[in-house]
């Protein structure tokens, strides 16, 4: 067999270099894809678990964190792929390093391209390379099959994601059941396996703040969508139960003001992601009703004071319609459909004696999506049908529960600040 010429030998080397390059790049591409898959699957698994278990605030923070982390990781993987990706010029050097050729291959190919074949030592270098061709065959230099570590990582992450989907139904909280309680105007909430809390009443909840940014609403929407997808019909049933309960207390909330709702929400923030927490609690017994043992104690955390004043703003509209306009203790015209005309109470006639008067302040309650839609700027919405007329019959007068002591010197200022204005826009 004739000896190959240096040109033939160089061509053989170039072919083998191309094969090594193709194989190595494919290997690296596989590895990067597995890493990306592992990243995405792990992020998705974490998001699913957090969406089902965590509160909306925690989920929002975690979602942004996971999103940012995933993007960074993906960028790092892409950058690593770029660094490991073999270019045409860099492949001989890479082969030299990995096959311990001590620069023979790169030198021969570079000098061969540059016309260095006339150098006295060049034939020796080419022959030396030919002798070592077997040392850097593609199948010897680049491992066969897939990158096992990256593949295992991707497999584990995908498995975790599937597991999260599988266990999702078990993570759903029990649907609260709303049942009439003993006392008039009460609805008890029961969860699976627990006795109903008979002393608790339900009020509708204020919608989320309207000034929320789109970015801050995104995680909430994502969480809602995940829950919707994974919990499906069960979740719908829970929602319907909530709506039924809301309808049942609509009559009871006649005369309450949205301001009271909002104040209650501000003073007692409630975890709105928990379906049970979608029910705001008012411990104040109705006047004339005998309080139960549980109600005589101090209001528990999450319970809003001034429950008789708490109501949905839609009820305020109905009240305004019933009263036929502004009176001495009624809201002025245009004060808003949910305005409590007697929010500040009667002016104190005992100022000189007590030197203080009491300003009623109600707390605000908060939940997601439980309350009626806010009234539009035009006509007030039609009143909701009275689903529980027996509760409506037991409606009692509003009475301020908490009153803040204000020195007489500030009375005019405070009253001015809290007074209803005819020009106040409906909220």
């Amino acid at each position: 067999m004739p000896e190959p010429t240096p040109a033939d030998a160089l061509e053989r080397m170039r072919r083998q270099v191309r094969a090594v390059r193709w194989r190595q790049n494919l290997h690296e591409l596989q590895r990067a894809l597995y890493h990306l898959l592992a990243t995405l699957a792990a992020a998705a698994a974490a998001l699913v678990i957090l969406a089902l278990l965590s509160t909306s605030g925690l989920f929002a923070a975690a979602a942004w964190g996971i999103g940012a982390g995933s993007v960074l990781l993906a960028a790092w993987i892409t950058r690593a792929l770029g660094r490991r990706w073999l270019s045409g010029a860099g492949t001989p050097l890479w082969i030299d390093r990995h096959a311990r050729l001590e620069g023979r291959l790169a030198t021969a190919l570079e000098l061969g391209r540059r016309g260095g074949a006339r150098a006295p030592f060049f034939p020796l270098l080419v022959e030396d390379n030919l002798r070592r061709l077997a040392a850097w065959r593609p199948e010897r230099l680049v491992p066969e099959g897939m990158p096992s570590g990256a593949f295992a990582g991707a497999l584990a992450a995908v498995g975790a994601f599937l597991l999260a989907l599988l266990i999702a139904p078990w993570l759903q909280p029990s649907t609260p059941a709303a049942v009439p309680a003993n006392a008039p105007g009460r609805i008890a909430i029961a969860r699976r396996g627990r006795p109903p809390a008979a002393s608790r009443r339900i009020v509708l909840l204020a919608p989320p703040d309207e000034d929320d940014l789109a970015l801050s609403r995104l995680p909430g929407a994502l969480q809602e969508r995940i829950r919707q997808r994974l919990w499906g019909e069960d979740r719908e049933r829970a929602r319907e139960a909530l709506e039924r309960a809301e309808l049942g207390v609509s009559a009871e909330r006649e005369g309450a003001s949205p301001t009271a709702d909002r104040l209650a929400q501000a003073s007692h923030p409630i975890d709105a992601s928990d379906p049970e927490e979608r029910w705001a609690i008012a411990p104040k017994p109705p006047s004339g009703a005998k309080p139960s043992a549980g109600e005589q104690s101090t209001p528990a955390a999450g319970e809003a004071p001034g429950g008789d004043q708490e109501a949905a703003r839609g009820d305020g509209a109905r009240e305004a319609e019933r009263d036929g306009g502004a009176g001495p203790h009624q809201a002025a015209a245009g004060a808003g459909t949910g305005t409590d005309p007697n929010l500040l109470g009667e002016a104190s006639a005992e100022r000189a004696a007590r030197e203080r008067f009491e300003l009623p302040l109600a707390a605000r309650v908060h939940a997601l999506g439980g309350g009626p839609a806010p009234p539009s700027a035009g006509e007030a919405p039609p009143p909701a049908p009275d689903a529980r007329p027996d509760l409506a019959a037991a409606q009692r007068r509003d009475a301020p529960v908490l009153k803040m002591s204000v020195p007489p010197a500030y009375e005019a200022v405070v009253r001015g600040a809290f007074a209803h204005r005819a020009t106040e826009a409906p909220r």
């Binding site: 030198t107 030592f121 060049f122 034939p123 020796l124 270098l125």
Partner: protein, 336 residues
């Protein structure tokens, strides 16, 4: 050159180098690395500056090298009153048999294959520059006439790091003419015991010539030509250029922590020294081409004396060797 011939030439180089190395080792105790660097510079066609305290074998190394290669050797002890003509030679009036008088050039000690310029920093700059012209151009000019020096011409200059009074430090431009700078350390305890035993015995070890006198110079030149034929790939040229540029603060490639310690970086001669030294290293490794490792092996002696360090470096105790090591480490990291 066929592969077989090339392989034989490389083996011949390795054998000659090893034989000279072995003969020098018979009389010089220790200093193995320094001897390797000196021999590398010799076959690369450069000159060497040795820095070391007196009495540690500088002269012995050079004389042994000359004896092993069977080349002519001269030694000049540089002093403050040494004149250029004392090195290069001078014209004297010579009266012939017929009574005619004419100027005749009498070659100085520079006319030898190997010249030891002992304590070169004790001579005046004028005398130093006379030697440096010979080193750079392989010729001396006397009275307008150039006299070429017979190849091979190898200068080994020494610097005494102590007794600095009354010395004339070599300017950077002259330091740059030396291919390598070697630091000779004080011998270790074991080496010192061997030195004492061997140099005070009845029979002193002698160096046997490796090459026959008649062909020695020609053979050395052949070996030096072989060194020049070693292949250098473009990527190695880029690497060496990057190393040299990395020592130059103005180029902006020196790490910021190091940049304040260096006033001036290496000249392009530093790059030439790196490649020539690497070529010798490649042949010694039996390769017809240089590698990154070859360059790294000669980087310290090739670049160390070419960096001008700042006062900040002196205050911080940072020397040029540390900067070169840092540059090499950066290059290694970039390659990985």
């Amino acid at each position: 050159m066929t592969p077989a011939v090339a392989e034989a030439a490389i083996r011949d180089f390795q054998d000659t180098f090893a034989a000279v190395r072995r003969e020098i080792g018979r009389v010089v105790v220790g200093h193995e690395h320094a001897i390797d660097v000196i021999l590398t510079a010799f076959f690369a066609g450069g000159h060497v500056l040795i820095e070391g305290v007196p009495g540690i074998g500088k002269t012995l190394i050079v004389r042994s090298l000359a004896e092993a290669l069977n080349l002519t050797f001269n030694r000049v002890q540089f002093t403050v009153d040494l004149m250029p003509a004392d090195i290069t030679g001078t014209r004297v009036i010579n009266e012939g048999a017929d009574g005619r008088r004419e100027f005749v050039f009498v070659p100085g000690p520079v006319f030898a294959h190997i010249l030891l310029a002992d304590e070169i920093n004790r001579a005046t700059p004028k005398t130093q520059s006379a030697l440096l012209e010979a080193m750079a151009e392989q010729q001396v000019t006397v009275a307008g006439t150039s006299h070429p020096l017979a190849p091979p011409f190898f200068v080994l200059a020494t610097l005494n790091p102590i007794e600095m009074e009354g010395t004339y430090q070599l300017p950077e431009a002259q330091l740059d003419r030396f291919l390598f700078k070697v630091l000779l350390d004080y011998p270790s305890a074991a080496e010192l015991e061997r030195i004492l035993g061997e140099t005070t015995a009845a029979e002193l070890p002698a160096v046997r010539p490796v090459l026959p006198r008649e062909t020695a110079a020609r053979r050395v030149e052949e070996l030096k030509r072989l060194v020049r034929q070693v292949l250098v790939a473009p990527h190695m040229e880029r690497h060496v250029a990057a190393l040299v540029r990395a020592t130059v603060p103005a180029a902006g490639e020196l790490p910021e922590a190091m940049a304040r310690y260096v006033t001036y970086g290496s000249s392009p001669r530093g790059g030439q020294a790196l490649i020539l030294g690497a070529k010798v290293m490649a042949l010694l490794a039996g390769r017809p081409h240089i590698t990154f490792e070859d360059v790294e092996r000669v980087a310290l002696p090739a670049l160390r004396h070419r960096l001008v360090m700042s006062y900040a470096a002196e205050a911080a105790g940072v020397d040029a060797a540390q900067v070169v090591e840092g540059v090499l480490a950066s290059a290694r990291h970039a390659r990985a």
